[in-house]
């Protein structure tokens, strides 16, 4: 895998899947409207080569007001997306996002894959928004958060799929990561020792 890596930016080129194209289409709207976001979780492992499908793409979007929400809604509809939870932007903002409930958007007439959008509420979600990693994939921008945080968070989640995603990201970037930062996130998130131990057992030389 050829990529240029720095803690704030990764640049690489590769063949795109339909999922990549869809993600790029979705985030292009956010870029155009200058809405800050980070994509987190499963898609980021897939972006860097993990071979698995996903039914959703998770992202945090900065807290926005009604005007911006309406503008975003209009642009999403124009681009062929629809909200799976509600048919109007007022409910989307007031009943869902402001109540810390995710809203989902998918291509009109489909359910999967969908974009699961939340406002950041927890300390770790704010941290992700403040510590962005910008990925340039074939010269197109996708914003995510620091890899160290994503690995720690994936270790915290309970599923086998999440553990495998953590191992994938760790295996791929272990020579580039800030290991003391990774350990700090693991400690702060309270990742159970048995989950962390799997990482060291699979990568014993680290």
């Amino acid at each position: 895998m050829e990529l240029d890596y720095s803690p704030e930016k990764i640049v690489f080129n590769r063949e795109l899947s339909d999922l990549d194209e869809l993600v790029l289409k979705f985030v292009d709207i956010l870029h155009r409207l200058d809405i800050s976001y980070v994509i987190i979780s499963g898609y980021i492992a897939i972006l860097f080569g993990r071979s698995r499908g996903t039914e959703d793409v998770d992202l945090f979007v900065e807290k926005i007001g009604m005007d911006k929400m309406s503008e975003w809604w209009f642009e999403l509809e124009k681009a062929g997306f629809e909200c799976l939870n509600t048919d109007n932007p007022t409910d989307a903002l007031n009943e869902y996002l402001e109540n810390n409930t995710a809203i989902r958007f998918a291509v009109k007439g489909t359910w999967e894959p969908n974009f699961e959008v939340k406002f950041p509420t927890s300390k770790s979600s704010h941290y992700s928004m403040e510590n962005k990693l910008v990925v340039f994939l074939n010269n197109r921008k996708i914003v995510t958060s620091q890899i160290e945080m994503q690995i720690a968070y994936k270790l915290l989640l309970r599923g086998d799929k999440d553990l495998e995603d953590a191992l994938h990201l760790y295996g791929l970037f272990k020579d580039k990561l800030d290991h003391s930062l990774l350990r700090l996130h693991i400690q702060e998130l309270g990742v159970p020792p048995e989950r962390v131990n799997v990482l060291w057992e699979i990568h014993p030389s680290d």
Binding site: E15, S17, S51, L167, G171, L172, I202
Partner: protein, 51 residues
């Protein structure tokens, strides 16, 4: 009717499969790292779906 020993065998098999999968993830990332983007991403895009 499964005995305790049968159940223990199943649990061991599940743990073994899980460990095998995690080891495979490590081997796959090692392969990814030494494989040109044009090669791995062609397979990857095909697996994930490409029009």
């Amino acid at each position: 009717m499964l005995t305790d020993s049968d159940r223990e065998e199943i649990h061991q098999e599940i743990a073994r499969n899980r460990r095998d999968r995690l080891s495979f993830v490590r081997e796959y990332t090692e392969w990814l790292k030494k494989t040109p983007n044009a090669v791995w991403s062609k397979q990857h895009a095909k697996f994930l779906g490409k029009k």
